[in-house]
Symmetry: C3
Subunit: 136 residues, 3 copies
């Protein structure tokens, strides 16, 4: 298994950060296998979405509606407002994803991008682990 | 890694389509390993559910409630009503699933079925990729 | 692939049960590869969360709010109150997780724990399958 850790700057606002280019570069030339994408943080998740047509915004809006930042609601409370819900997010947007790789290319559909979903505004320096398990 | 792409007709209504038989047939005789199920579409997901007792209906109802089709809510809007929420769905119902395989059989529980969850009514011709990574 | 099945007593209340110690012990000494965690039950899921600071409680509260136990809402109804929503839960909190393993150690972040999420109060005897696919 080959593995590498990316660093991602997420800034001080909730965000959706595309990782597809980095993932494609990592698997390039590797034949067939499975790509594991993994975020070693307790307040972020991974998703496969279309980007560039508004769905990043729609997802963050849906998260605000389904898991409101509202301080009073959450037992886990320290750091910025909404940190309690940031800790529930990974149960719904898991920090682990697997993508098949064929002949060194991600088997994504035309409109699919791999993204980091991060509502945590207190930690702007994120890591993402890419691991390739060969099946060639 | 062995891999195959299924074609699934989903019709013109939101639906939950069982894929367990196709997945079981694909891994049959293959020994131990991991089955990756992957949908290369940006408006569909995969789940493991009991089918045949109403949970398909309950899931589509829960999605209508949690991610309402309501046109005005979504930035991403083209195609049929609700298309914006179809694009948020894969963040919650991911298009990637991994199932352990033991002696050529899916290690599913008695009541578990692998299903495609598709609320998109504009694309009725879907593909699902099955890939087997051997650990034998 | 090496595989083992754990037994977990979940009691008669909705609960979040940590599995990290068992998973770490299982992969110990195994080199690099992917750990698959899989729950062969139709009314439970797996997540990666921080535990011990209230997020277990927050997650169960969020589930009560997003998928209310309310009997009348669900087509699938047998067993205890809320059983219908227990059957929808795995679509959102999937019963399958993959975690990279490096030099025999789970590549989890400092605050991440692997947990079983189980709102079903009718089945207190649960199994969890751990499988390790070596990439060494």
């Amino acid at each position: 298994m080959d593995t590498v850790e990316l660093r991602v700057e997420t800034g001080s606002r909730a965000c959706v950060v595309e990782l597809t280019v980095e993932a494609a570069r990592f698997v390039s030339g590797r034949g067939d296998g499975l790509l594991s994408v993994f975020v070693p943080h307790a307040t972020a998740g991974l998703a496969i979405l279309e980007v560039g047509a508004g769905s990043e915004h729609d997802l963050l809006g849906a998260l605000d509606s389904l898991l409101p930042a509202d301080e009073g609601r959450w037992v886990h409370r320290h750091g910025s407002r909404g940190h309690g819900r940031d800790h529930v997010l990974p149960a719904f947007i898991a920090p682990s994803l697997t993508v098949p790789v064929l002949a060194g290319e991600l088997a994504l559909g035309t409109w699919q991008s791999i993204v980091l979903v991060d509502t945590n505004v207190d930690n702007t320096d994120r890591r993402v682990r890419l691991s390739f398990l060969s099946g060639s």
